[in-house]
Symmetry: C2
Subunit: 591 residues, 2 copies
Amino acid sequence: MVTSIASVCLSGGLTDKIHACAEAGFDGIEIMDSDLTVTHESPEEIRALCERLGLRIDMFQPFRDAEGVDDETFTDTLRRAREKFRTAGRLGTDLMLVCSNAGTATVDDDALAARQLGELADLAAEHGIRLAYEALAWGRFVNDYRHAWRIVQMADRPNLGTCLDSFHILSRGHDPSAIEDIDGEKIFFLQLADAPDLSMDVLSWSRHHRLFPGEGSFDLVTFLRHVLRAGYTGPLSLEVFNDTFRQTDTQRTAAHARRSLTWLTDRVAVAEGHQTGRIPPPQPPRGVDFVELAGADLSAVDHMLEQLGFTFRGTHHRKPVRLWAFGSARLILDEQDRQEAPHLSGIGLSVDDAAQASGRAQALGAPPAFRRTYAGDHELKAVASPDGTQVYWNDRPAETWAEEFVGGNDPDADVIAVVDHINLSYPWQDFDEAVLFSTSVLGLDAQASSEVPGPRGLVRSQVMRSPDGAVRVPLNLAPPTAPNPPRHVAVRCRDVIGVAERARARGLHFLPVPDNYYDDLAARFALDGELIDRLRGLDLLYDRDDDGEFIHFYTPTLGDIFLELVERRGSYDGYGAPNAPVRLAAQRPRL
Amino acid sequence: MVTSIASVCLSGGLTDKIHACAEAGFDGIEIMDSDLTVTHESPEEIRALCERLGLRIDMFQPFRDAEGVDDETFTDTLRRAREKFRTAGRLGTDLMLVCSNAGTATVDDDALAARQLGELADLAAEHGIRLAYEALAWGRFVNDYRHAWRIVQMADRPNLGTCLDSFHILSRGHDPSAIEDIDGEKIFFLQLADAPDLSMDVLSWSRHHRLFPGEGSFDLVTFLRHVLRAGYTGPLSLEVFNDTFRQTDTQRTAAHARRSLTWLTDRVAVAEGHQTGRIPPPQPPRGVDFVELAGADLSAVDHMLEQLGFTFRGTHHRKPVRLWAFGSARLILDEQDRQEAPHLSGIGLSVDDAAQASGRAQALGAPPAFRRTYAGDHELKAVASPDGTQVYWNDRPAETWAEEFVGGNDPDADVIAVVDHINLSYPWQDFDEAVLFSTSVLGLDAQASSEVPGPRGLVRSQVMRSPDGAVRVPLNLAPPTAPNPPRHVAVRCRDVIGVAERARARGLHFLPVPDNYYDDLAARFALDGELIDRLRGLDLLYDRDDDGEFIHFYTPTLGDIFLELVERRGSYDGYGAPNAPVRLAAQRPRL
């Protein structure tokens, strides 16, 4: 299927948008009238630029307030339309969108609407223009796609069809299955947008909060299957009004938008059992193979890992890189980075087929990550995630590559531990892109998001996890005025109190927890006094729900990274969210 | 009346909040349980700090999920409560808030709720604690203040009263007049919050979008009058959950919050005809006396004013300050600033009583502006607005102070012109503060706000104007990732086309307007071709509505300032909003 995107989805000027769309690999673009109006380039220049870049101008849009009006108003409608048809012709497109009347409509009469749309179509025909009539969710009299289609049928003009927009249909809860009743030839255009599940008026929801497919809660796979079954063969076009994407980097947003269509068409092809339109299948990670920290001097990290009871597994035989392990939780410390403070630099995921995972990532437009490899080293495929963290895939046993590390100790067979979760943080404007990357490239699923009050504002937390929960990546969204919170790696063990006691005995002091927290804990849960005292003495945090208990502690932050040690009891499946404000307050930089 | 504020209104840690509240002049504070939990200071330290700063701890809150539950759950409720009553005692407050049950309530039975609240009150009495029961707007069974009051009456305990919260009452559209039926002695506490008129679920609205009084659409004056008539004499306390204020500077937000209560109590005192609680009355400006631009070198501004046809009125007899005039539009160029590029530095407003205006501003906590004056100079009172622009008040004729300028030309009697509007810009997080400053200190009224798409995101525009429209100050709110747009001064004249032609003849080129704009104009309005050509030839912009027409142009930007020349025909009362995207696109910095 060919792809397209409305120019309103992106920031910048119209020519910037056109360049970004072409570079991201779109086949076409919808030119918004308002984008053309503020641009110095003539319609002929825009047309020529698109031709040079191989971008089709699929539609010029929108034309508003056409039908359901009195005769005098309609005379002016035809006058307005003539001007716009000329502009469409200068742009070299033969298609214009006509939105159902939300402003000036005064007559609720389908016969009148059909007659007026018919006349408009006849005028359009004189200019070689086709019209796609769309029901806006807030149209005055026409706000249901089935209603718009009935009027198109009544008007019965060869150059008048309908335009379907997933937002206008799914936001109203209209059943999309009746799309299959529409003659596919008469679906002149298709606009796709996802959206979060918000309870607000549909106009504000549409104008500010639309998302690219895969980022919201609409079932666009089912929606698109209905459209394709109706026989539609035109472009899949994105029309996303979003306050954030209006501000973010034009090229980056275009790439991210394009990824959403690749993801969607792949999902549809798989659901339909097609062979075309498919990319390598997702490889949901079976576990975290390793986590890599980088920095110019990681000796403080070595020291802390030793205090926590990690085993030093050795130094890489060719590079200034060290391996530490705590059970199956492997941390690689990479000092090839000469500049920066300690930070999270890479995540290694265990998958069934690394080549497939990597192939899928590249098909989804993820940039390959550069990694210096030496003869004899195991080469892992990697891409860069939106925050720059490199993601590696490994389909061999971990100990295969661990052989490259020499001079260390054997693993401690008594320690049973794994990486429980890896907490990433994003500036607010990159959040939706991060969610789509996690679902489409990493094969993780989005859980319900939550908000945590911190001293610098609310931090939104969105957990992404693999289907069986073996890999969990909570994404944290910092408020706009606050710096990104540090990232962290949580290691799950069987006896976190024992681990804490031994680490404390080795001189490690954890993130300090206020006494008031333990008083509140005693009020919330009827815990026995001895346990409370033990938690208090070690700066341990506690949570409980119907499924089980959670005990955890945080290390101090080194550079941009800290560790968490956790123990899950029973079937506790959360992350100690009630304790997150305690952490945020304790980690607050003192000014 | 004494004032108070919930700690949740502010950013930072609890001790920062306490210091800021005391400094802003609040009499008391409500300590939120969640703020105490994450704090290292003990309740006794918090109590002692508040005592030292003269801040009363008016309430400890909230206690949730108390009533309407089964017996087993209620046993645990009493256990939880006992711990929290102890904490309240340690804080030295005798009042706790009990919210109507929104989480665990299973029994819709007022008698049961009253019995359980009664038992809870009896337990509280043992700790010397009083309870204020409040109906949350989203309480499971109790979500109306009248219902909560009935249950309090049924429980009939001396230490059980009700708490009224304006948000929970007005967001549901409940009639506040029945507040007068409540025994004033039994209103144990009053929480005040304003809110914008949003159509979204009430829980999200409450948790994220509350505002301080005077910043939203609730009629808090009427609300508070009902509460006072009921006989309430306790604190007026602010409880504002707002995503932005959680991030902004603690001290600044506290000062801004305190201003809202001064404004509100003044409005109520005036409405009730009281003499106490009043501050000097507002002085709605009768016109713009002058606008001051500052910078190290303003010669480019001189040049542009000359091209526009302004008259040079002279240089100040003691300072490097020049005066230009176009009819009654007076621009002062102040080169005492050695550092900065040209920018808007001050606004002079004509009022009936400058001393009253200045006294009111200072009563509302506006910081007095420093201004060097010399012997013999007219001294104008001034304060700094939230963006740093100085605001002066003058109750004498303009030409009084204009005598200080010498060596210029006489005013051109043929020119009829005034300052039409002054466009200020704010970063998004200071916007609500700017609105409250404009209403309470400047005596302007907020008009409906609008949003304008720009190449770097949506710009929100909020027009503030004096009752008769003589002074208009549109506030522009930049998106978080974008720099503040430049400020501008619009001068209204009678023949903007003539002004433009003469300025063009003197070599001034205006902000260039795209040809496409004129094609769109021709489509939107049936303008005659000659007018379109004239507008196009001069880069003039045009708008029309049912009231009249608007023609205007923009100068190039010098530093952080540009000028606009406008002509209003008929009763046109807008600002050419449809043309704002053209300006934003043309002014976009090229990267």
